[in-house]
Subunit: 701 residues, 2 copies
């Protein structure tokens, strides 16, 4: 496990993805694969499905796809209109809600552009160009030991990004954001160049009760009845709707069973190419411990939500997020506890090692990287607790603390050259970080106390009451009394104050006596120290060894296998199909009629009044959700499902329960992705929401 | 895993126990072993420690040890006075507490016998005799297939118990309770014959803050400072203090470092002789799923406790219990996830299989029992969810439901002959069951709603919202609304009403429209059906196969290995010693002075006012807690630590963190038991509690 590479907090829920179980079975036998646009297996798709995706098709789809901070979206009008999931816009709905107006419950429709609501922390990135920089990285680290290579690799990538951004100002698209991407666990390094829209606004969202009908019990289940859609719009820096000529047209009737379909989007993380030792750390340490903490927090959230209407409102978004993450991790753990999986992974690894051993020159060049990783994993297990609680912040679980640490560290890091900083504070990352840190999003003190007290209490449990840092924090306090004092005393909930501290830099920060900043300051030395140990003793040897394994894999299989998901743009193929569950056939489409039959009148099986009132007018045969064999995973939420002609025929929002094991392998018999059918979106927009302006902009009167 | 054999609900917290890691290493090299009194390795102990435990010593210690419903206790005066842990009496303290008088916080001391408080559900059993009945059981099931053998075995044991109790009325001790005991997983069957005291009263308990100083963070930790003691008294049926001439005298100064010491008590469950397939079910299914549910419930309890003083009071006992169980299961899972353990278990199993294969006659007689178990385990995994939620009651998590189901089933079962009933309703079990069901213990509606709603919600999550039983229960309800209606509508919180329903039998029950009884009735068919499947398809083949494995084991090793713990009386040996942790020496004694240094003033590191006021008068050098190498486990709580002269030199209350892996193996380097030193008990009774009468009865003026 590489914790630094698992930005789950940046990926909302979801699905799962595929790589052939055994390298011996070529991808041709399944729909596995989250392919890059630059190595898409065009011939394979043409041969199997008769669909020939031209370079023009690929370019149009690529530039019609946007990466949100947590999800994927696609442009569906020339004026920057984007279609994504309701759960991808939940933070934005929350931001504009109050005890009196709960947009999550009531839904939202902007009748004019002026009514569109700005999402304070959202962003939309469109991939305009790609450039491989593997050679430059390899040249920079050649001959260095693992630790120096790790530092140098980061500095080099920071430098490459910076140069790329500078050069883009003179390029044909104007200023772009350049981000380095590591494919194949160090096998390839790329620069991905994005056009960034930092002004994203909310246009439409249905009521939560229909968007997430079935709630957590139905999550990752199919058959399903969710109108998990929302509509956003990208704006340029000068407040004009973005011009997006390469948008997708919606095919109103949706796809047919058996039809070939494609998903373009940003799958977050898969671990299909990890070594067995890394998977074992996940199974034995990472997942069980995370699940224990998350399950308890779930219980705390639920009980807190019962203390009143406002508590229920403010806890809804974090609870949804958490429950989704719990289901993912729980099924990931199940997959790793299934001995067939680790046995297959061991066979894969042995096969690759045998190929290396059979090639003396290669063997001499790469040595024994699997053993290097196994050793580093032992060290990772030792560092796991302090790293998780101190540096990853599990011990200080609160938004206010995150603000405090970001402000403190940004002030310190900005006094150094960009290449010498902690990488998340490099120059090219600062404007986005400032946006996140100073956006006017609500902070709820009661919830802050809950999560902070929980973090402190578990830190005391896991590090032990006599650990010096625990002792120092809780000399004469309980987690509750300390959390209350910090939250009540801090003024960081005020966005203007945070903006002032951000702009004021080290001088303002040094002078601050805000108790949350004082806390961040008091633990920073120890947190940075454990991070340094982690980077030097875990990340560095694992990355060095992974680069060697990637070299062995390329030598054996070339790029006939796709890289693991990295929350960068991918394209995959599949067909509209159900599957067989315990001998029963699951049909690939659900229909509107059954929605009403399944309702109980109580959350989360409650249908909104707007739908109940119109029940008689809605066509009961309308296709609602559908399943496909596309290989997707969390981060693909909101991705367009596209037909061979490049039309939008669905909106991905989930996978079935088997799709979660897709983190480690793709099972063509069982792994299915789940989408909203265009037919139900249009039925709802027309009859329930009477969103004529929106329909008109979509070209669907 | 055999769920039916893991009565965790009957075993309060605790420790862990040992069997040699590999059968190849004879027990002589460690203090491993929870030995029966009838197969105690007297020569081994004499040879190693020079202590010769005479038959008289053994008999006296055996009859000075009592089994409580959840713990162990020992007689410490001739008038039935018993010493046990504070946490073993927590239910009794809770029963007598109110919002105004919280005995858990204030402590309790009866100045006269009239003031002693009856513990409504407590019981004290003293083992007066033992009789092996293996031959009778084997004769009864000879030639039967596994399923019939399983039924017949139970009937036979029921019959043997009944006959034993009838015969005991004419015996030298008068009426005894006879319970069958399965040792070595079906290798031996015994009747254990107890004198039962069904009237147990509370004499003394210190404040919870000193009894459980350090709370959950310190639980399973050492060094430690807990006065985890309470004093009870056994009464005869006619309300007189029990005559207990075979009591233990307290050695006031406690033991010395390095001294040989013995623990007599009732370890609850170990799984050291389980097959690898059973351990894998525990690792892959049983423990992870239990932990997920328990961690969430912990979070719910904690947050509920913050809603007010009364909520905090009523949730304290269940929360303590739960947190202890979580720590146990968490470390058990860690042990099973440690690949060295399963590797060692596989080697053990292979060695035994090889010995069987080398003996053609034995091989022909027992066949392939390991494969039979592996097959049954697959079936267990399929049945796990419905069995857990429906029959084990996880879906109906509430005291009221437990009352309802017990009353309903008792009424139905009592119409059948004793041998044909569900075994927990056999005649010999009824009086105890009636005591548990009708005792005047408080029921808290708010807590009932919390746990019941939680159970229903998780049942919906795990069985799925479309499972017929879930659908039927929650057609137009949420878990919250259903739980509220059931709890508010039920009258089963009234002990007199329960007594009436118990006595009234089927006629009264059939006429009842109590909603909780109606719920129990509506799910009983499905619950019994899944239980029958579980018994026929899991329990039966596993028990039949285990009997064969036991036969192989006896043939290879005789009884040189002790049986797994079964909450029956055991004796083990060890010495007072610390251990080495990460290269650091842990001393075996703690002293009173450090208690005050570690206090924070906030729970759970708060020292009671009674102690703070007397700090100057207490001897700072008083030994407080101590660690020994004795091999103990949950159920041993309250056990006496005994020196070679048979004097009480400590009160077991915990183990170190490594002791939890003792469920599966004993590590002589790390596994340590933890006791309260007599010195601190006497210092507290004398100076803090001024319990002169008690001291006088203990013979310590």
């Amino acid at each position: 496990m590489r914790m630094s590479r698992r930005p789950l907090s940046a990926v909302l829920a979801l699905l799962a993805s595929p790589v052939p179980l055994l390298l011996a079975s070529p991808p041709a036998f399944s729909d596995a694969g989250m392919w890059t646009f630059h190595d898409f297996p065009r011939e394979l798709v043409k041969g199997r499905y008769g669909a020939d995706l031209s370079p023009a098709w690929l370019e149009r789809v690529r530039t019609a796809t946007a990466r949100l901070s947590n999800c994927t979206a696609s442009f569906v009008s020339p004026d920057g209109l984007m279609l994504t999931n309701h759960h991808c816009a939940q933070g934005c709905l929350d931001e504009h809600s109050s005890p009196e107006h709960n947009l999550l419950h009531s839904g939202f429709l902007a009748r004019t552009r002026d009514e569109e609501l700005k999402c304070g922390t959202q962003v939309a990135d469109v991939l305009m160009g790609l450039e491989e920089v593997t050679a430059a990285v390899q040249a920079a680290i050649r001959g260095l030991d693992a630790r120096s290579a790790n530092d140098t690799r980061k500095k080099t990538l920071t430098q490459l990004e910076q140069t790329c951004e500078q050069q883009s100002r003179r390029g044909r698209y104007g200023p772009l954001k350049c981000e380095s991407v590591d494919l194949y666990q160090g096998g390839q390094y790329w620069l991905y160049k994005y056009r960034r829209y930092q002004d994203v606004r909310l246009v439409f969202a249905p009521e939560r009760d229909i968007a997430a009908f079935g709630g957590d019990p139905d999550n990752f289940q199919f058959p399903r009845w969710c109108l998990d859609m929302s509509v956003l719009r990208a704006y340029t820096g000068d407040g004009k709707p973005a011009a997006t000529p390469a948008y997708l047209r919606i095919r109103p009737e949706g796809p047919q069973a058996g039809e070939v379909v494609f998903v373009s989007g940003h799958p977050g993380t898969t671990d299909r190419l990890l070594s067995v030792a890394e998977l074992e750390t996940l199974r034995n340490v990472g997942l069980p411990r995370w699940l224990l903490r998350a399950a308890e927090l779930r219980g705390r959230y639920i009980e807190f939500g019962k203390t009143g209407a406002e508590a229920s409102r403010i806890v809804e978004d974090p609870l949804n997020y958490l429950e989704n993450a719990i289901k993912v991790r729980r099924k990931q753990l199940d997959a790793l506890l299934d001995d067939r999986l680790l046995k297959a992974k061991r066979l894969e690894e042995e096969a690759l090692r045998a190929r290396v051993a059979a090639d003396p020159q290669l063997a001499a060049a790469i040595g024994e990287p699997w053993s290097d990783i196994a050793r580093a994993e032992l060290r990772e297990q030792e560092l796991y607790l302090p790293y998780t609680f101190l540096e990853q912040g599990a011990g200080f679980n609160s938004h206010l603390f995150t603000y405090a640490r970001t402000l403190l560290r940004a002030a310190a890091e900005r006094t150094k050259p960009s290449t010498d900083r902690l990488r998340e504070y490099r120059d090219t990352a600062l404007s986005r970080l400032a946006q996140r840190t100073t956006a006017p999003v609500p902070v709820y003190p009661a919830l802050e106390k809950l999560t902070l007290s929980f973090g402190l209490e578990r830190m005391r449990e896991w590090l032990g009451p006599d650990a010096p840092i625990v002792r120092a924090l809780l000399t004469s306090d309980s987690p509750d009394t300390l959390a209350a004092r910090l939250v009540d005393g801090s003024e960081l909930a005020d966005p203007a104050l945070r903006r002032g501290l951000w702009d004021g830099g080290a001088a303002r920060i040094d002078a601050s006596h805000d108790p949350m900043i004082e806390l961040a300051r008091s633990v920073d030395g120890e947190a940075r120290a454990v991070r340094k140990s982690y980077e030097d003793e875990v990340e560095a040897p694992v990355q060095a060894a992974s680069e060697k394994i990637a070299r062995a894999r390329f030598s054996a299989y070339g790029t006939s296998l796709p890289p693991d998901a990295t929350f960068t743009l991918r394209l995959n193929f599949g067909t509209v199909q159900g599957w067989k569950e315990d001998g029963r056939e699951i049909e690939p489409f659900t229909r509107l009629a059954r929605l009403f039959e399944r309702a109980t009148g109580e959350e989360p099986f409650r249908i909104p009044g707007s739908w109940l009132a119109l029940r008689a007018q809605l066509d009961p045969q309308t296709p609602f959700n559908l399943s496909t064999s596309n290989d997707i995973v969390g981060g693909n939420s909101g991705s367009p499902l596209i037909d061979a002609q490049g039309r939008l025929v669905g909106l991905m929002f989930d996978g079935n329960i088997h799709s979660i094991a897709g983190s480690y392998w793709y099972d063509p018999q069982l792994n299915r992705a789940v989408a909203v059918d265009p037919a139900v979106m249009l039925e709802a927009l027309r009859k329930v929401y009477k969103a004529d302006g929106l329909l008109s902009e979509l070209g669907l009167h």
